[in-house]
């Protein structure tokens, strides 16, 4: 059964700590070149086609800024 996922990041609250990137098993997430109001490079889906919605990134996020979505195809 195939699944596809996606994440949204609360970019103003993200501090760019990169812990989600280190724990993403599919290499979906990267830090944006843009910065938020506090000057942090925030996390975003660089390779959205890879996301499986496994929730690993949101589980380890210290600031609870990631929401995860998943659908079965």
């Amino acid at each position: 059964m195939a699944v596809k996922g996606a994440i949204t990041v609360d970019t103003e609250k993200c501090k760019g700590c990169s812990v989600c990137i280190a724990n993403c098993p599919t290499g979906t997430i990267a830090l944006s070149k843009q910065v938020n109001g506090k000057g942090y490079n925030y996390a975003y889906m660089e390779n959205p086609e890879n996301c499986t919605g496994c929730t690993n990134c949101a589980t380890v996020c210290p600031d609870a800024v990631i929401t995860v979505y998943r659908v079965k195809i």
Binding site: K4, G5, A6, T8, E12, K13, K15, G16, C17, S18, V19, I21, A22, N23, Y40, M45, P48, G53, T55, N56, A58, T59, V60, C61, P62, D63, A64, V65, I66, T67, V68, Y69, R70, V71, I73
Partner: protein, 253 residues
């Protein structure tokens, strides 16, 4: 499939728990405190005890914990959270009472309070964040600092002759008759966060069963104090902290 079709309210599999407030945490990027706050909030939501939980915040970085969890809070003097929790739980036996303390607060100035609260077997939960350093005050040596670890006050590394040995307070508390559940966990990857969540849930459940004190240590990082990136700090913790502070349950009855 287009991303717009995936990002819909009915497809949400993980979102921030409403027990966490919308305030932006003041912690440094990648701080373990944020993860542990989130895990406690999720346990409170899952157990449906938001209006029955009283937290005691410490002195240290986590002093502002009361801004981040939408529950009742008290704020204790340095190290005195277990004493305040004792009174709160005895006066409100139907409430879930927990303290949230760092290693400077619990293992140094609050050693007497935590020892005696655990020895009396108070029906409270103690969450102990051990990052081996005084984070808020600028990265000085804590009782839990590892031998050889460089801090602001041990620039050549902690030396046992000069600074004594690191304190394994969790092992000490496991010896006491009053504790029912003593465990050491971490929160650096998804598996460890899930284990931590189970441990904290068990501790909260114990506190209503009159079994004694439940003590959950979380080995964490202070990447600012350690002067590392968050990801590197997690790796350093796995390589250096875990051999000295092994994870797992020390007591469960």
């Amino acid at each position: 499939m287009d991303i717009k079709d995936i990002i819909k309210p009915e497809n949400v599999v993980y979102s921030k728990t409403p027990v966490l407030s919308d305030a932006i945490m003041h912690y440094c990027p990648g701080c373990t405190h944020g993860v542990v706050h989130k895990v406690i909030a999720e346990v409170i939501e899952e157990m449906g005890i938001q209006d029955k939980t009283i937290g005691i915040s410490p002195v240290g970085c986590a002093v502002f914990a009361y801004n981040y969890l939408n529950i009742d809070w008290e704020q204790a003097a340095h190290g005195r959270a277990p004493a305040l929790a004792t009174a709160t739980k005895r006066l409100n036996p139907d409430k879930y009472v927990f303290t949230y303390q760092g290693d400077g607060d619990l293992a140094s100035i609050g050693t007497a309070e935590v020892m005696h609260a655990c020895n009396r077997g108070e029906n409270i939960v103690i969450v102990f964040i051990n990052n081996a350093i005084y984070g808020m005050t600028g990265g000085q040596m804590a009782p839990t600092t590892l031998l050889g670890q460089v801090t602001a006050t041990t620039p050549y590394g902690r030396d046992a002759k000069l600074n004594g040995y690191p304190l394994k307070i969790t092992e000490l508390l496991a010896q006491l008759e009053g504790t029912c559940y003593v465990t050491r966990q971490s929160a650096q990857n998804p598996a460890s966060v899930r284990k931590l969540k189970k441990a904290i849930r068990k501790a909260f459940e114990n506190s209503m069963m009159e079994k004694g004190t439940s003590f959950v240590e979380v080995v964490g990082t202070c990447n600012s104090g350690w002067k590392m990136s968050p990801v590197k700090a997690n790796k350093w913790m796995e390589e250096n902290m875990f051999p000295f502070y092994p994870l797992g349950d020390m007591k469960d009855r």
